[in-house]
């Protein structure tokens, strides 16, 4: 993880300007599923921007994570409609079956389980979003099948 060339190949795609920072951090996030500490340090060196500034950005944006996340992200909607339609049961099933707490990542690095507050599709409640795929009317008895299918893809 300390090989700086993998960071440089991303950084080199952008202009040497403070405006590029967020785009680069997003690319780090996509590539490594989180923003590594070494990445922030390297970015600070190359761009000549203080590390504290880049770290502050990393903590500010929800789209960036400073701790490793899974290959797949499962978002369980726990908004009002989904809550009433059984989101808590879905969440419990996932926590039990994947052996992970909410907002945590499985030990094999496959899944990150998150709760979100309404994704704006209440008619499809209860809703689970796996990566970019929306699964409406999910039932706790079926959720693991969907997750397993996704893991194989």
């Amino acid at each position: 993880m300390t090989d700086v060339t993998q960071f440089d190949s991303i950084i080199d795609r952008y202009e040497r300007s403070e405006e590029s920072l967020l785009a680069i951090l997003q690319d780090f996030q996509r590539e490594f599923h989180y923003v590594p500490e070494e990445g922030i340090r390297r970015l600070s060196e190359v761009m000549e921007v203080p590390e504290s500034k880049i770290y502050a950005m990393g903590t500010f944006y929800k789209a960036l994570s400073l701790t490793p996340r899974g290959r797949h992200t499962i978002k369980v909607c726990t908004g009002t409609a989904c809550h009433l339609k059984g989101a808590p049961q879905i969440l419990e099933t996932l926590e039990r079956e994947l052996e992970v707490k909410r907002n945590g990542t499985t030990t094999d690095g496959e899944f990150t389980l998150e709760c979100v507050n309404c994704v704006g599709a209440c008619a499809m409640a209860p809703l689970t979003v796996i990566d970019e795929e929306y699964h409406g009317q999910t039932r706790s008895s079926k959720i693991m099948d969907i997750v397993k299918k996704r893991a194989e893809s």
Partner: protein
């Protein structure tokens, strides 16, 4: 510099254009309480909301933060109206609820009359930390000192000043400007046996060759020598014995 006249609490004063209301008021002996503003720090102000005043201009009135509102021709400011006091009490009440241990805020609130705090933090949120997240410390570090050792991390209620990853910073020079500037005394800086501890890092202090007082961190001397080219021997003696 262009001079304009501005009216504050019924009296007319001369002021430089673009000077902020707060400074004009203070120069003329009118007190407006404030926490996050420091006239030496260009980027400070506008976050604690304690210095709100009434700004009347063109027949309209707005509540503005006097620390970053520039005076303009025809501006009339009122700092002592029932509305200003009511809003100020509200702001101080919220600040007191947030940082109950801050003496500075309690004193300021007491001066505004009895302030009953109607809000309580939940058990877990109360950590005896006096920070109001005004960012004066990080602004001092960046704009005055120029080392950018600390920044405002997280967002919303969790926002606070910190070093990257909360680890001892290798760019920090231990100057303590952040602790000095902090309006609520939230930053701990301790000194013992010629070692200063701040932001989780220990700094060896340089001792004055005359009085033997440890008075400046070695890292700060290195920084000054590196950035200004000042002769290192200058720091052998403390300011009292130079």
């Amino acid at each position: 510099m262009e001079k304009i006249s501005v009216k504050i609490d019924g009296r007319t004063f001369e002021a430089a254009k673009d000077q902020c209301i707060l400074e004009v008021a203070h120069e003329n002996g009118i007190y407006i309480p404030s926490l996050c503003y420091n006239s030496e720090v260009a980027s400070s102000g506008g976050s604690c909301r304690v210095c709100l005043v009434e700004a009347h201009q063109g027949g309209r009135m707005r509540l503005v933060t006097s620390c970053n509102y520039p005076v303009r021709k025809g501006l009339e400011v009122k700092t002592d109206t029932p509305l200003v006091h009511r809003i100020r009490r509200g702001v101080l009440e919220l600040l007191m609820a947030r940082v109950p241990d801050s003496e500075a805020i309690r004193e300021m609130a007491a001066a505004e009359g009895p302030t009953d705090v109607r809000f309580r933090l939940d058990e877990g949120e109360y950590d005896r930390y006096k920070c109001i997240a005004c960012a004066l410390c990080t602004n001092v570090c960046a704009d005055v000192v120029g080392v950018f050792a600390i920044g405002m991390v997280n967002r919303g209620a969790d926002k606070k000043p910190d070093t990257p990853y909360g680890k001892p910073s290798d760019v920090c020079i231990g100057c303590g400007a952040c602790a000095y500037a902090c309006p609520t005394g939230a930053i701990t800086m301790k000194e013992k046996d010629g070692v200063r501890r701040i932001w989780g890092r220990d700094f060896d202090m340089v001792t004055c060759s005359v009085c033997g007082t440890p008075y400046i961190p070695q890292a700060q001397v290195d920084w000054i020598v590196r950035t200004t080219g000042k002769d290192r021997s200058f720091f052998d003696k403390c300011p009292d014995h130079r």
